[in-house]
């Protein structure tokens, strides 16, 4: 994995930013919400204690009646038309209470405006028997006797109800009612003036399948008498209304949870943020889940049965948190019991929307998302750029080092050498190593000539001593020894001379005055000379240029060819053909010397033109590995280069020199 990928991976750590930001937002939101809840709870307590003054307004629990049988009278904001249908009631359809009837469930709702009570009953009846099937509204004000208002029809449409009192049955014209047949049953809708009704209310349905049979009675209440009806009490409402602020809802319940007062409205959320689904989604993921917001709504059946309300009714304080997953609408609700002594009269429910918090966190969230997005991009981009820059520097350094090694130009300044960082250190170390290498190479190169120079004096002592010795009277044996010693000294001298050849060639190269000559003629004539010199080989000269006007030192080029030909002869066998060729390209002449023979060992390829590197494997002590080095010095001295390649069954040395020598 390269540096850039590594740093890119590291830059992924910036994704921690949004996570941390979200944590922060979540914390903030919770803190804000808790704060709001605290305030709300305080308000609820205040309302509860203020309501204590109105303790007599709270309906008392009457243990004689079951709570479930109590009828709740909804407060109607508009008057429904008496037509047998519920759809014009200002109530949702889930406000219909359900009770068991003989042919199926019976649904009913009771509502009231200031003057009258409205009744709607929907009865399931397989077989409607006019005149016998009836709906009865039972009402009483204990301890008075109970009365019943019966609704039955001779035919669908407007019906006349009869009221049964302790005095008997009488039609009651103040009550208007409507009977509406529907498939599977019928509806009854009625409007009854408040004065006709007592405090306790109950609904009975009498169903029969034939005019002869006695009807079966189903009651909304349990026992013989209906329990007290519950409805909102305006005195309490008025008392509580002062405490209600905008976007706040106050609900007062009695001890059983029946809603006996409500005030205020939760503002609908400004859904300007709804446009961003993404944010909503993230927000949902982030924030603590609450109960479904619809549960915070006043109970459609009139009785608040949420757990947090129950807690209050048991004397404790409680809070709850609602949030709609659809709209994001969130509501904080708190309850406080209204107690007198040890008795709990009811509970105060205070609800408030969390729009302020929401919009704050919403805004925070979207800013957070944009900021972290930008930050991540900037950081990743910066890191990427930085990594690119860094890796480019390192790569430039490594390339420069390689080039310096390859080109043997070990004194070149490497990139980043002045940089004050680790790459700079690396560069300086590299430079130092290269410099050491260069010095070592230079030492190797000069070693031969230095050595030959130093050995020359002792050799002179040996040879001059031997020559003197030869003038002394010597016996046969001594003469043999001196002759052998002379021979050895002579060979030593040849070796020393070969060792200093490189430095002399270098010296000549420096002082050479380039002359113009015909390279083709020179090669032609020298090929003939080689033919004479090496009788065991065949030499051929191929040339694809007519005339080759070259510039340089022909003597040195010949010396170079001598080395190459010497090499070619050594690695070929008797009778082999050594071919020398000359070809011309733009600006360059190419001279090749090729011979059949063993291929070059691969590991030697790069250093075979170096000083004191021999491919002969020590079998020939005359060669010190300087021949090809001298050839290279001459080629490079002419501004050219020398290379060696294995050919099919042989070796080919190629020298490429420019047509005109570079000015030095």
């Amino acid at each position: 994995m390269n540096l850039r990928r590594q740093l890119l991976l590291v830059s992924l750590l910036t994704l921690m930013l949004p996570w941390a930001g979200c944590e922060f937002i979540r914390e903030t939101e919770i803190a804000l919400r808790n704060g709001q809840q605290e305030i709300l709870a305080g308000m609820a307590r205040a309302v509860a204690s203020s309501l204590r003054q109105h303790r007599e307004e709270f309906p008392r629990r009457d243990s004689a009646f079951s709570v479930d049988g109590q009828v709740y009278i909804h407060k109607l904001t508009s008057r429904p038309e008496i037509d047998g249908y519920f759809d014009d009631w200002p109530l949702a359809s889930d406000s219909l209470r359900s009770m068991r009837g003989t042919d199926g469930p019976v649904h009913f709702a009771v509502g009231s405006d200031e003057q009258a009570v409205y009744l709607y009953v929907s009865v399931s009846d397989r077989n409607v028997v006019y005149g016998k099937d009836e709906v009865v509204l039972v009402s009483s004000s204990p301890p008075e006797r109970q009365e019943a208002i019966a609704f039955k029809a001779e035919a669908p449409g407007r019906i006349l109800s009869t009221k049964q009192t302790q005095y008997g049955f009488a039609p009651e014209p103040t009550i208007s009612a409507w009977w509406q047949d529907v498939p599977g049953g019928y509806h009854v809708e009625a409007r009854i003036p408040l004065s006709q009704l007592g405090t306790n209310l109950g609904i009975s349905v009498i169903n029969t399948d034939s005019p002869e049979a006695a009807g079966t009675r189903s009651n909304s209440y349990i026992g013989r008498f209906p329990g007290p009806a519950r409805q909102e009490i305006s005195a309490l409402m008025r008392a509580a209304a002062n405490h209600v602020q905008a976007d706040m809802r106050l609900i007062i319940t009695d001890a059983d949870g029946w809603r006996i007062g409500r005030s205020g409205q939760l503002g609908s959320r400004d859904d300007g943020t709804q446009s961003s689904r993404l944010i909503r989604r993230i927000y949902d993921l982030l924030l603590e889940e609450g109960d479904e917001a619809t549960l915070a709504e006043p109970d459609p059946l009139g009785r608040e049965r949420q757990p947090y309300v129950s807690t209050a009714l048991e004397g404790g304080e409680s809070g709850a948190w609602f949030r709609s997953s659809d709209t994001g609408k969130a509501v904080i609700a708190v309850t406080a019991p209204v107690t007198v002594g040890t008795e709990t009269l009811g509970a105060v429910i205070l609800q408030q929307g969390t729009d302020a918090i929401l919009s704050l966190t919403n805004e925070g969230l979207s800013r957070l998302i944009y900021l972290t997005l930008v930050t991540t991009l900037v950081v990743a981009g910066t890191l990427l750029g930085y990594a690119t820059w860094l890796s480019r520097r390192i790569r430039a350094l490594s390339i420069a080092a390689e080039e310096a090694l390859e080109g043997e130009d070990l004194s070149t300044a490497l990139p980043s050498a002045l940089a004050n960082d680790e790459v700079g250190d690396l560069s300086r170390s590299f430079s130092w190593v290269l410099q050491q290498l260069g010095e070592y190479n230079a030492y190797l190169r000069s070693l031969a000539s230095k050595l030959s120079h130093e050995l020359r004096t002792p050799l002179a002592i040996v040879t001059s001593s031997l020559e003197n010795l030869e003038h002394e009277p010597l016996n046969e044996a001594s003469l043999g020894y001196t002759a052998r010693a002379r021979e050895g000294a002579d060979r030593l001298r040849q070796i020393l001379s070969a060792m200093s050849e490189a430095s002399r060639v270098e010296e000549l190269m420096r002082n050479a005055e380039p002359e113009r000559f015909d390279l083709r003629a020179v090669l032609d004539s020298i090929t003939q000379a080689y033919g004479d010199a090496y009788a065991g080989r065949v030499f051929e000269f191929n040339c694809d240029v007519d005339a080759a006007a070259a510039e340089g030192s022909p003597e040195l080029l010949i010396q170079m060819l001598d080395k190459l030909v010497d090499n070619a002869v050594d690695f070929s066998d008797d009778g082999d053909t050594i071919s020398i060729s000359l070809s011309g390209t733009d600006g360059n002449f190419e001279i090749t010397v090729s011979n059949p023979g063993p291929p070059l060992p691969e590991r030697m390829r790069s250093q075979m033109f170096d000083s004191m590197v021999s491919m002969r494997g020590g079998k020939d002590s005359k060669h010190l590995g300087l021949g090809l080095y001298v050839a290279r010095l001459i080629a490079e001295g002419h501004g050219g280069r020398i290379s060696a390649d294995n050919t099919d069954g042989g070796v080919c040395f190629t020298v490429s020199v420019p047509r005109s020598m570079p000015s030095q």
């Binding site: 120079h453 001059s464 003197n468 010296e507 003597e555």
Partner: protein, 230 residues
């Protein structure tokens, strides 16, 4: 009268060997190991020939200094550098200081003797009237084999002994290619290819100084050199 040769050489073994060899040839020999003792000894009387090593102990260029001082005192005293330093630069420097020859210690004693004998012979010839029989003429070239001098277009060409012998070997048979071995033999020296190349270059340059159109020494690539006569 026996000739007196002075050897200034810091290496005692070589000095002694040369001394022995010279004495065997009948020369009087004085050996000195440094510049100052040699100068002190030459104060009274100059020897007939001086052989100097360049590197005299710690005196790295002592031989050059000595040569300069001796040349200042005598223009015709034969001076030979005999040194281990084989670089072209040193050779040119030495010859420029007025040395008659610049030899490396590769040279064999017989070759050295031949050179010394030749130098004395030239010295002697200089003092004799010119004899016609010793002259060799090839066009503009005139070689006096006795005095070992060469004239080109009647102007003297200042050649060293080695150079003289090389030109002499080439010009004796114009048109004949002399290979390196033959030239080496003629010059009484063991010379490698590069040294011969350098010598030929130096010779050409000296002729060019007199006649810019000089082109009588031709390189026969791969074989050697030959003298072209008009």
């Amino acid at each position: 009268m026996a000739k007196r040769i002075a050897i200034v050489e810091d290496e005692a073994a070589i000095r002694d060997n040369y001394t022995a060899a010279f004495r065997r040839e009948g020369y009087l020999v004085d050996g000195y190991e440094a510049r100052q003792p040699a100068l002190d000894a030459f104060e009274g009387r100059l020897p007939d020939l001086v052989v100097i090593d360049i590197n005299l102990k710690d005196d790295v260029e002592g031989g050059f200094e000595l040569c300069r001082e001796l040349r200042a005192r005598s223009t015709d005293l034969p001076i030979i550098f005999l040194t281990a330093r084989d670089s072209e630069f040193d050779a040119v420097s030495g010859l420029r200081l007025g040395a008659d020859d610049y030899l490396t210690k590769d040279i064999s004693l017989p070759h050295l003797m031949a050179r010394i004998a030749a130098l004395f012979r030239r010295l002697d010839a200089m003092q004799q009237p010119q004899g016609k029989e010793a002259r060799l003429t090839r066009g503009d070239l005139a070689i006096d084999t006795e005095r070992m001098t060469i004239h080109w277009q009647d102007q003297a060409v200042g050649l060293t002994l080695t150079e003289f012998w090389l030109v002499h070997a080439l010009a004796r048979y114009p048109g004949h290619v002399k290979n390196r071995q033959q030239l080496m033999d003629a010059a009484q020296a063991v010379l490698d290819d590069n040294t011969i190349t350098s010598h030929i270059k130096r010779i050409r340059r000296k002729f060019h100084a007199i006649d810019a159109g000089f082109d009588s020494i031709e390189t026969v690539y791969g074989m050697g050199y030959r003298w072209l006569s008009d």
